[in-house]
Symmetry: none
Subunit: 393 residues, 2 copies
């Protein structure tokens, strides 16, 4: 059986100051794959377009976000294991701290995950005919479902620092939703404020903020489209959510945290084990993006070195085709996503080989893959593992 | 007069084992054209997408298969010189051998062309109000027209090895067609079984199988669109069919067989002769694809060497612009089409020149044309011969 592993190193691309983190990092294993494989540069959408992590992953999985993306809410909810109904309006949600009617900390002092779990049940309630369901994930984060009739995403979120957390309808379609969400905010603030756990906190988790609301748009699974069995290994909920949307199984790995302390070896070994069952493994590593957002060049460089040392050798000897790339650039100098291309390697025993010998944004400019787009990745993977349908005869 | 020859070497692209056939072949003439011309890589559709020969040629001729492709049947029928009416439902068809109601050889022991021709007239008949017209081409192959009212391509074909050759309608639109085709199968089996020629055969050609049914979708000719007089030189019927759809004249060349023994010199000389009359010559050579399907690396390499020696020098001294490429890769290691890019050369006296000196999948990664798509080929040819219409003023 031919199979493939797609390693997405989130936010990997960067700008030279005067080197990029990829250029500065000691990464002999990635460089060896570049040397023995074919390389290039990729834009998730198109040149210069700045992608989100969610839309970028959908693109790479072969789904056009213009058709199937409806906010981060439903993807986060899927990723933390919530079951969604078709008419559910789903928000990304946070525990936050409100004082005198204004949000003073939108992360409630980064409340610990186990404390957030204790408060979770207070958030569930019914408003008019709408059921409100909350599930916390990591620290202050979670997802919020509004389940009922006549809901609309033609509303603002309530996640507004130093302001009142008020939801406003864009037009009359959003009126009921805004009313429900505003009533919910008041009621959940009342309930949470009374909780003894919050009375001890300097930054009480006394309100829930909602943003990026949308309805899940279902898509045909990778299995339905290509007969390809696929699985996801990721710490972060959003990436699991994108993978679930594509019909991937989620492989939970102990120590896969979606942060810099993630257990890369465990993730790599889980991928190798999964190759026995699956045609395609999507393996996501988050921390380089987080270091980029923090402007931490050294942290990003060290994380690349850890990936090179602890993860890449395991994948390289798997016998599967490897595709290694990123969803977007997160330059340390900008502390946010940018529209600069990311490098990509395709490595496999019968694949064509170019003469690029290093895996970085500059070396891969000369790669044999040239300049690709995110939506090319899945057809290339299907072609590698011979799961592509022939178009014509 | 400026004119151009497009040489399509079918199935030319390959994978390194450790060299590709193009890398392994001695081909000084193709390499000289690469050196004196501009090169690149091309995907017929897009990266990784695996193309059929039919859809790929349509693409290269500038016709979007998503709009104008309706199965291989009508293109094959055009290619073997059948006249089609708009409502004709046309199938690719084979003589085959049926025993006890099942297909035991879908090529009727590769019946000789002249024997198939003798049986041809027995196949023509009328079922209900539908006229059934068959024409054989090479060996067991041919095309089958159903001419009448209420026909639909919402049906399966009957080409099913080791099974009954039964046509099933996908939905009620296909009911009449399925009924007619199934009655035809019975009747033609009865007629062919009685023929004295078949009584002598170990594998009697006692049934006709149909597949890839569709209706011809007419398109504006190259002449109508660009004022370009064009002609096709090909052994294979399918390629002539695609060319006819595009309004090309078909130049029949003695010894152009569509197989490894094809008379390359005669094809080349016919092309040179045709330059006196035509702006554009499409010259197709099939055998590299067949060697790829057979997994015959040596055969493919030798065929490339023959093309280089017997055909390329004739074309190179014609004074016409030359575009040399392929429709898709057919790697010997895979024995089927793949979605890997194919190399392309554009050569002409005033054309730009890059520094690539060899015509192969690896060298052309660095070519000045970069990574093209099939649909770019015809605009580039029109631009070369100054037949392109200016877009804007």
């Amino acid at each position: 059986m031919k199979n493939a592993i797609l390693l997405i190193i989130d936010g990997l691309g960067d700008l030279p100051t005067p080197q990029t983190p990829l250029q500065a990092a000691k990464k002999p294993n990635l460089d060896r794959l570049a040397e023995k494989g074919i390389t290039g540069l990729m834009s998730s959408f198109d040149r210069g377009v700045v992608p989100g992590s969610d839309t970028s992953h959908l693109n790479i999985f072969g789904y056009d976000p213009l058709i199937c993306y409806s906010g981060r809410g439903p993807l986060e909810a899927l990723g933390i294991g919530m079951k969604l109904e078709k008419t559910d309006l789903v928000f990304r949600a946070n525990f936050a701290t409100m004082k005198d009617g204004k949000i003073i900390d939108r992360r409630a002092g980064r409340i610990a995950t186990e404390d957030a779990k204790k408060l979770e049940k207070l958030v569930n309630m019914k408003m008019e005919d709408v059921e409100i369901i909350f599930k916390s994930s990591v620290e202050h984060r979670g997802a919020l479902i509004l389940r009922g009739h006549g809901l609309s995403n033609k509303v603002t979120g309530t996640d507004r620092t130093n302001m009142e957390p008020i939801c406003v309808a864009f037009d009359n379609r959003g009126e009921k939703t805004a009313r429900i969400l505003n009533e919910f905010t008041k009621e959940v603030h009342k309930r949470l404020s009374k909780d003894h756990l919050n009375k001890k906190r300097k930054m009480p988790a006394n309100v829930i903020l909602a943003r990026s609301g949308g309805f899940l748009k279902e898509v045909p699974s990778l299995r339905a489209q290509y007969g390809m069995l696929s699985a996801c290994i990721s710490g972060g909920a959003l990436y699991k959510g994108c993978a679930k949307l594509a019909g991937m199984d989620i492989i939970e790995v102990k120590g896969a945290t979606g942060t810099a302390n993630t257990n890369l070896k465990a993730k790599g070994e889980a991928a190798i084990h999964a190759l026995k069952k699956y045609d395609f493994i999507f393996l996501h590593v988050k921390a380089c993006d987080s270091f980029g957002h923090d402007g931490d060049f050294k942290g990003k460089t060290k994380m690349i070195e850890r990936i090179d040392k602890e993860l890449v050798p395991i994948l390289a000897k798997s016998g599967a085709y490897l595709v290694i790339t990123s969803d977007h650039s997160t330059p340390c100098s900008r502390k946010t996503h940018s529209g600069h291309e990311v490098p990509i390697i395709i490595y496999g025993k019968d694949e064509r080989i170019d003469d690029v010998k290093k895996f970085d944004e500059i070396s891969c400019m000369k790669g044999g893959l040239g300049h690709m787009k995110g939506r090319n990745v899945m057809p290339l993977i299907l072609n590698l593992i011979e799961k592509a349908k022939k178009y014509g005869s």
